[in-house]
Symmetry: C2
Subunit: 513 residues, 2 copies
């Protein structure tokens, strides 16, 4: 009992929090109560409105069914209900006349017509493009059966049809007026905000993934929720997941938004809501790359920290610039602002990606494990070790690998900074190969001689090593692919901003004036 | 007019095709018609059932609303409707007594109670965990208002409540009996088939992506539907997309399946339907890797055909084995069979991945572009060209790159086949470097000398070249990551097969007997 009481208490607290975090829900509930009260007042009407009171249940039913959270949803349901009732009413009246003509067979005709209409309406409802009108088909079916059935009893076909329609119109009217006039909640605005939120989420996720990667964040144990793509509060994961997962929500919101009249900042007939989903789809296409980047963090095969350190600054810059582009686009959508015609939003991120790519280019020896190269083990035959590449040596001496790598770091970064040809062509390889040569001398046994005996085990660890270095290459090229996909996103944004007549950016305006 | 007629004709043809491709839809529609007819027969009842006929509309309404495609959905809606009606009925009766006690204030009390109940029910409906009971809240609200309103008129509170409940029970009973006894359609079975289908789709997509990649399939222009993740009939894309996109459908099906009693092959109380979604989630986790593989095909940066050719056989084998594992798991689920305890379903694919990884290891010089290595351009200083790695040379002579690469292919593959240490340590590097040296001699100008002048343009093309080689590394390591994720999928499958008491595989059974 105490348990149940605690559970209830917790539930009440959570319900309060829900209202606090989204006050619209409280408002909506109050509006619903108000609409019900207004319709219920009908019953208190005395003569000559007795008639309305008698059928008041239809108005009540309509309010309960039609009164939806957003105005678009209310309109769409109201339309469905009106269309279903009207068409079914007309058809039922016609069929009733036919059935009466059938004389003794009237009951049979009625029953058969109910079966046939029931069959056809249900079948058409299942047709894929009829999905938005599903509710309309239900109302159609109900109305048809109701009029046939109650008309047969009372012989008041026309009366039943008309009163039903009037009461439904009344209920729908009350719903609509209450819903629109008091604190309206627009599906279009929800869609707009959802898309903006997704931009921010993906940006956070991207930055988080890149920063996590260079900082060598690792999962001790990957949460099983991530492994089965369920909601989880991992910050890197939830960001892109929300963007990937919001597709069906967006579709629903677009379905409602198209019903809404021009309002607020969306002062345009046939506002291009579909373009919002296109932008969101392009964002999703980018989010899948962030997901793949996160996959590199989740993976068991991890690049060694020293190697990541080498590309630390470049990776991080691409991540930062990429997130900046996403946030800027998100803000542009939020403020409904076009891109300036001269401004190239992608300039910085493209540059950062190119710098990263060049660095990769110069240092791609770090990404592979040249020890096993079938074309590249000449020292064993020819003894000319000093001209080989550093990485070849490093991998023959796993113990010293990280040391030498770190040791050579400061050297090379200083070369990068002063990028003049003169310093660039100093044979950096020979420097580090000398220092390594010294270390190699101090080794007790030449490792190469016993390689053949324990080749199986060693092979495996070498394979792993090479895979782990390639993992860095993968992360980098996924990041660069992400940057490439931004182009597509910017195009989708431009299309939206044109179609929706976003305003010119303020800075741009000033320059032109 | 002719247009409209053609459109109608087309629509009818498509509707027929829908019925042909899924006859269950035809059956369901006929069942719906039958249920409506059965309920409508109530009206033809003469005395002493006049009373039932008067309220028959409630039964009709119930059938129209509750009769759903699958039995689980029908049961869940029926339960919601029953619970909503009963609890609202009880509450309304209590409130009516209170209101009558209020004497003159009765109308006010009624109105206020409608507002308060309307507010609370609507607010709770918005609470996230209450989503499955959304319909129940609606019915609750409708019933409460209806009883309060019509009871006030007629003073027949109890009568209204009871008759309404009886008629709703009648409608729900008819729906349920017709839906269950005639050609039942189970949501659980749909879920089962959907998961199996997703396995097959991802397998096809994987195989298609790998085969397409080694065959250098390219998109002239990437369909914009893919760029915005919308449905498209591209075979590589639609396969994994269906698996990625079916999450909400699966959730809905699970929501219904848990309502279904044990039936057919699912003869178990509390059948672990949730485990199906877990397996499906793990499959989705794999499908994201297939998506990333497809991303390599979509990307603008493409690895050169000759390099892909080198890993042709290994890549294709991993793709084939990976798809085989997926298909086998899919078939196991379809047949509801466990994995044999000795059988390691991943053996082949792991082996294939390892072979690929080793080959990558041996030939990783193909994945990078050593020309720009800051540590590795000693020939300019020291002139000792003959000991450099082939790839360094290749990239200084772009024209000969593909030739030399292809030329050295047969040599090396024969080394791979005979894997004895003796042949392995033949200095392969010197062979190919000799043959390249000959070619280099025939070049008119030494390219290296003019490198400094036109460095900017050349830099860019070099950068592109290195990116394009890395793209192959990315594809490979994504493929290997896909294989790694299969482990997780197999585990999810094992959990499902345990919980759902799948049968032992037949071969295994025989061996034990």
């Amino acid at each position: 009992l105490a348990n149940g009481y605690n559970g209830l208490q917790e539930f009440v607290v959570k319900a309060f929090q829900m209202g606090k975090s989204d006050p619209r829900k409280v408002v909506f509930s109050a509006k619903m109560g108000l609409a019900l009260v207004l319709v219920s007042l009908l019953i208190f009407l005395k003569e000559p409105f007795e008639y309305v009171a008698r059928y008041s249940v239809w108005a009540l039913l309509t309010v309960v069914v039609v009164f939806e959270f957003s105005i678009g949803a209310t309109l769409s349901k109201g339309f469905n209900r009106a269309l279903g009732t009207l068409s079914a009413g007309g058809l039922a009246l016609g069929m009733a006349v036919l059935a009466m003509l059938a004389g003794d067979w009237e009951e049979l005709v009625t029953i058969i017509s109910i079966f046939v209409i029931g069959f056809i309406a249900t079948y058409l409802k299942l047709y894929p493009t009829m999905k938005p009108y599903e509710y309309g088909f239900r109302v159609f079916l109900l109305t048809y059966c109701f009029i046939m059935v109650s008309g047969y009893k009372t012989r008041e076909f026309v009366n039943t049809t008309v009163s039903r329609f009037v009461l439904i119109a009344l209920g729908a009217g009350v719903s609509l007026i209450v819903n629109t006039c008091i604190y309206p909640i627009w599906a279009g605005e929800d869609l707009h905000n959802l898309v903006v939120k997704n931009f921010m989420n993906v940006a956070d996720s991207l930055e988080g993934c890149v920063n996590g990667y260079v900082r060598c964040v690792e999962y001790k144990r990957v949460p099983s929720k991530i492994l089965t793509f369920q909601a989880s509060d991992d910050p890197l994961y939830s960001g892109y997941r929300s963007a990937v997962d919001s597709a069906s929500q967006e579709d629903a919101l677009v379905g409602f938004a198209v019903w809404e009249p021009p309002h607020g900042p969306y002062r345009m007939l046939a506002y291009p809501w579909k373009s919002y989903t296109k932008v969101s789809g392009a964002l999703r296409h980018c989010a899948f790359m962030v997901m793949a980047l996160h996959g590199c963090i989740l993976s068991e095969i991890q690049a060694p920290a020293e190697k990541r350190q080498v590309f630390h600054a470049e990776l991080q810059r691409v991540g930062k610039e990429g997130a900046k582009v996403l946030r800027e686009l998100g803000n542009k959508i939020k403020r409904m602002e076009k891109l300036g015609s001269e401004e190239d939003i992608l300039y910085e991120v493209d540059e950062a990606a190119e710098i990263l790519q060049r660095k990769i280019d110069r240092k791609s020896y770090l990404l592979v494990n040249s020890q096993s190269w079938e074309i590249g083990t000449p020292q064993k035959e020819q003894g000319q070790t000093q001209h080989l590449l550093t990485s070849t040596r490093e991998s023959t001496m796993p113990e010293f690998k990280s040391l030498s790598d770190l040791g050579q770091l400061p050297n090379f970064t200083s070369f990068d900074a002063g990028n003049s040809p003169a310093t660039h062509f100093i044979p950096a390889g020979s420097v580090s190969s000398e220092s390594i040569f010294n270390k190699q001398v101090s080794l007790p046994t030449p490792l190469t001689s016993i390689a053949d005996e324990e080749s199986s085990n060693e092979d495996e660890s070498k394979t792993y090593e090479s895979a782990s270095a390639l993992s860095l290459a993968t992360f980098t090229s996924l990041l660069i692919e992400f940057v490439a996909r931004l182009q597509n996103l910017v195009e989708a944004f431009k299309e939206l901003s044109e179609k929706a007549h976003f305003k010119e950016p303020i800075g741009h305006y000033v320059r032109e004036a």
